[in-house]
Symmetry: C2
Subunit: 107 residues, 2 copies
């Protein structure tokens, strides 16, 4: 298991906002443009733009431009990677991450 806490924390931080969870939920049933996403929220267009930037920067969402529209979709690979990281994180391991056995209590 990768102990890449900083990188994964960044991805998780992107998901730590109710609005962005809802965006992911909407994108889970297919690609959407920004104006379609915006209809689901009460905040302004620049705020949506901010949220999309966060989701793109962490790799969970991809975007493509077509004419006037920007279409957003889930990056399934990275979404799955995050879930695998979390599953491994909470899974019991005999071997503690503590390599200094004087500090490790693993039986």
């Amino acid at each position: 298991m990768e102990n890449n806490y900083d990188d994964n924390a960044k991805v998780i931080k992107a998901l730590s906002d109710a609005s962005r969870l809802k965006i992911i939920d909407i994108l889970s049933c297919g690609e959407r443009c920004a104006c379609e996403l915006l209809e689901h929220f009460d905040f302004t267009q620049p705020t949506l733009s901010h949220h999309m930037k966060v989701l793109i920067d962490c790799g969970l969402v991809a975007s493509r431009k077509e004419g006037l529209w920007n279409y957003y979709s889930l990056n399934s690979t990275n979404c799955n990677k995050l879930i695998l990281f979390l599953m491994n994180l909470i899974t019991y391991t005999d071997e503690c991450i503590c390599k200094d056995k004087t500090k490790c209590q693993c039986k």
Copy 2:
């Protein structure tokens, strides 16, 4: 699937910090007391106390007191619930969360 974005965002926010991810990782191999956890970090004891409070408040970690020591352990049920939420979130659904079909693009 539950669209309980606010509650899940709170749990995810608790995980959105590299130090707290490491704490979860340590606890995944068994119960630890605060002073054992602290040995893995450079920050001070009150900072660890703050992090533990965040993890307990969101339900991911349980604690019990025994003499001078506080022992912390993962709440596996809630950890698993979070992972299931995320898996459902990113899983493709034919039915869009948008109930207003004039706004929904689902095919």
